[in-house]
């Protein structure tokens, strides 16, 4: 598969993500400053500005990690939601490209993971952790997901079920 990297940063709520993804893929994964150095890229989206450089990086497969603000969950901070919406649009557009096709998907997590605190519950009665996110990212990066393209995986204990944008 080649090198998988994380860009542009690992927020405090996602501390340990690079190591956890690397463990699952069986190869080291690092946080990089330049998204163009990777074959496969995990993009941690905290605003619209993160999406363009990820597209321009040429990386494939691409996995955008976004908060669930784009579903309309957070009225105080619109920037996270706008970044998430941009990432979903980008993944879908890349997935339908015939020329210079890149496999691109999204993992959606509760918005607060992108801030200082990661622990959270959805309808499922147990906490969601960075390991759960790493499982989803590693799956989408792997050949097991070779026919999964342009999709959004919700790693949120079922919180997305309260939104119409999730089927």
């Amino acid at each position: 598969m080649g090198t998988v990297s994380i860009w542009p940063s690992e927020p405090p709520g996602l501390a340990g993500l690079a190591d956890a993804v690397g463990e699952r893929l069986g190869e080291p994964v690092e946080v990089v400053e330049d998204p163009r150095v990777s074959a496969g890229l995990v993009v941690i989206v905290t605003g619209v500005g993160d999406v363009g450089p990820a597209i321009d990086s040429g990386a494939s497969p691409l996995v955008f990690v976004i908060g669930d603000g784009y579903l309309g969950t957070d009225v105080d901070d619109l920037s996270g939601g706008l970044g998430g919406a941009a990432a979903v649009a980008a993944a879908r557009s890349l997935a339908v490209r015939r020329e210079s096709h890149r496999r691109a998907n999204v993992v959606c997590i509760p918005e607060r993971f992108l801030g200082p605190s990661g622990e959270l519950r959805g309808p499922l009665a147990h906490d969601i952790g960075v390991g759960d996110l790493a499982d989803a990212v590693a799956f989408l990066m792997s050949d097991d997901a070779g026919y999964v393209d342009g999709q959004v995986l919700f790693v949120d204990g079922g919180r997305h079920l309260f939104s119409s944008m999730t089927a």
Partner: protein, 252 residues
Amino acid sequence: MSETRPVALVTGAGSGIGAAIARRLAADGHLVAVNDLDESRVAAMAGEIEAAGGSAIPAVADVSDSAAVDAMFDAVEAAAGPVEVLVNNAGIGGNAAIRNVTDDFWERVLSVDLHGVLYCTRRAVGPMRERRSGSVVTISSRAWLGWWGQSAYAAAKAGVVGMTRALALELASRNVRVNAVAPGIIDTPLLRDRDPERLERLLKSVPLGRPGRVEEVAAAVAFLLRSRAITGQLLYVCGGKSVYAYPDWKDA
């Protein structure tokens, strides 16, 4: 019978996508209860799994018959222990323009593709709730979004999406997860029987430009089964077809 292997019941496991799911779950360490309507297919698949070093037991039943489904679960539980995993895969296709959608046709499609999912899921989740552990994956279809000639099939496959989302919420506090996979065009014997010209036209609606492999559907099912933080998810395995499937694809 190995007591360490959690039991996974896979419906419609005698061929195609269901067979690939049964093989994958056996390889992942499940004891697979192989369901199909066809007794000889069940015996062949169970034999194949055992020959490959896995564990399997036969579970012949028509999923559209609720009494037969209950009896099948009773027999599987008696032979192998609690059913930890249910994969609702059994289904029948149905292509008909609306003028040909008779009451009989509609009922035949819905009885297997929607009612069958209810009967198996209802019976499976009872003990799962009690044990506070279990996982269900139902095979829907990208076609629920709509396609020519698919009114009955789309209604059934949309029905299981709604059922999945409702049950995911209903059973979450009991640690029972309920998810769905929506395949697009998958390379099965059924697909290979199609008129090559029609198939080529159909594949133009797939951005990846190829049909999916049954193993790729099975891998998505296996992923959802092991993902403890995911419930109510509808995961398309469709090569991007669900994103935008305009059939006269300009770049094709």
